[in-house]
Symmetry: C2
Subunit: 346 residues, 2 copies
DNA sequence: TTGTATGCGTTATCAA
DNA sequence: TTGATAACGCATACAA
């Protein structure tokens, strides 16, 4: 409850020197600085954030806006951002902008305009033109995680990740490879689209036709779509590139249910290296969303400390982790697929 | 960029009336109010939050503190809180206070003390005495989601939920029922402990011994623990009460891997009604964390609008959803367990 | 190195 | 109903 005036009085100095001693900015003699600090500690002085903001124009707060919270990727990114901001003494205010909701409109029209933050991190926001405009007109630095810039950006090379996932299957001699994920008709999330493009690129480079099986981006979504797509033994592909690990795991569970051995009868590769990937022996292209959060926060903090031209770009590459959900298609000469799906070179 | 002075000038009134007209507090003639509002709209006037806070002492912001973000329960609660706050025009600042970390200490020592919020929502925080003290001394209303009060609280009746889960199995004639979850030695999360107590209560009421199988509170955790505990066919229980659905699903996957039919050879009941529950036909005691978030936010907002004595308590009861992961133990007279696990009365 | 005085953008008090 | 003016709690330009 005590203000800087109290601290100043107790230390026997003016408010101005007290302020200087505590913010560490200007020149203050070591002795008085110590006295002021002791007084502040003794009184349990905590500066009023609103007064500081009003006087300095800085909030010491960062906004984070994302389309949802309850998916592995988003939660991980958020934790990464949070921990990095924490270490800089910055607060985090969160905006949950689910696409197509009134809440999202409200956020863009009202909440962001309050500019309660020094900078903004947008995670997989996929803003439309109007929203992007709003974002940029804020006059605050913006860093995106996932997305195609216009702002500074930290992102996985989505297309390349999917391309390499596909190439992994191609190298195993698969030719009938389907992409599992993405919507049926409604507009795709940009991430899904880019991953699909990577898959297509690899397929056409191999002279093979693409094949798309729509699936909602969740484990149950992948499960349901896979149960459907895999039931017809004659028509089903020998391998799947899943849009993400959750969908991939859903597909593996579906295969088990249909008594299709993985990887003996079906290979599945994901993208993410999700928390569940190891348990399901899922071959995947690993990314590290937590690290992306940290990187984005760090980028923003740097920009706040010393403003630059901005639009930096930080593109990360996924790392292939081969586990036991991928193998050569059955019948491939030179390899034997055992019961347990282990691959033995004959 | 334009302030209330600009609005006042454009409307031809003083700053004071402009403020009154916009905040809607005092008496202003309809005509001037309209003029002021038009001026504000024309200028795109947005009040400075720090100035408002400094003048009023209110931040129009709510703090949310939770021990983690990347679990279904927490993400759902957070989404519920967020959406409710949004509809009241309140901002949300998030504190990720993972137990035992330096970050958590920093949050309690520094961040909360800044009092950037009018009130606080603590989700499954399990604060120790020192932390609780800090929380209460803040001089701001605190609402907990999950937890044993000292603050106002919105919570599931955890013990009763577990008790009913156990009773469901007892009614099916199970006698060898184990509790899956909770730590080996390290202090349990309070939720886990309370659920275990509910299980114990039902077991001893039935004159049966309790049996505890430790498992980390995650799907892979439940899987690993169940694989371990179920391998010995003679020693394994006929039914499991899982501490939560994620652990329950892990156990179901483990059972499938061990070729133990569910529910034919093993019944599993969870608590939550997680996103995955339906896909795995999991019998469970449903709670609605999103709704709990909404309720907590609503409670806090009410308290902010008209302060009361506080410590209200809002205890919710779980709802039993019987799916297909529970059945009578094999060999029970009067029932036949079919291949697919469907229960037929003979 | 320190103190004085002013500004930050509102709301709130007091007169008119 | 309205207007002038004083807080709100701090940082900072300027003067000493």
């Amino acid at each position: 409850m005590s203000g800087i005036a109290d601290v100043a009085r107790r230390a026997g100095v003016s408010k101005a020197t007290a302020s200087r001693a505590l913010t560490g900015s200007s020149q203050v003699s070591d002795q008085t600085r110590r006295r002021v600090q002791e007084a502040a500690a003794a009184l349990g002085y905590v500066p009023s954030t609103s007064a500081v903001s009003l006087a300095t124009g800085r909030t010491r707060n960062v906004g984070v806006i994302m389309p949802r919270l309850n998916r592995w990727f988003f939660a991980e990114v958020l934790e990464g951002i949070q921990s990095e901001l924490l270490s800089h003494g910055l607060d985090l205010t969160l905006y949950d902008a689910r696409p197509g909701t009134a809440g999202r409109r409200r956020i863009f029209e009202d909440f962001l305009a309050r500019k309660r933050f020094d900078g903004l991190i947008a995670v997989a926001l996929d803003p439309d033109d109007h929203e992007l405009d709003r974002l940029l007109r804020l006059g605050r630095p913006v860093v995106s995680v996932v997305g195609d810039a216009a702002t500074a950006v930290v992102t996985l090379d989505e297309a390349h990740a999917a391309e390499r996932a596909t190439e992994h299957l191609l190298a195993l001699q698969h030719t009938d490879i389907a992409f599992l994920g993405g919507g049926e008709t409604q507009p795709w999330a940009s991430v899904d689209r880019r991953r699909y493009e990577g898959y297509q690129r690899a397929m056409s480079a191999a002279g093979l036709p693409s094949r798309h099986i729509p699936a909602p981006p969740s484990l149950p979504g992948g499960y349901a779509a896979a149960v459907d797509a895999l039931s017809d033994a004659r028509a089903r592909p020998t391998a799947l590139v899943a849009v993400c690990d959750e969908v991939a795991v859903g597909a593996i569970i579906a295969a088990r249910r249909l008594a299709i051995p993985v990887p003996g009868g079906l290979s599945v590769v994901g993208i993410d290296d999700h928390e569940y990937a190891e348990m399901f022996s899922l071959t995947t292209l690993a990314q590290n969303p937590r690290q992306q959060g940290v990187a984005a926060a760090r980028m923003l903090v740097g920009e706040l400390q010393s403003p630059t031209a901005m639009p930096a770009s930080h593109v990360l590459q996924a790392r292939l982790i081969v586990r036991n959900s991928t193998a050569a298609p059955s019948g491939t000469p030179g390899v034997v697929v055992t019961d347990t799906g282990l691959l033995d070179h004959a």
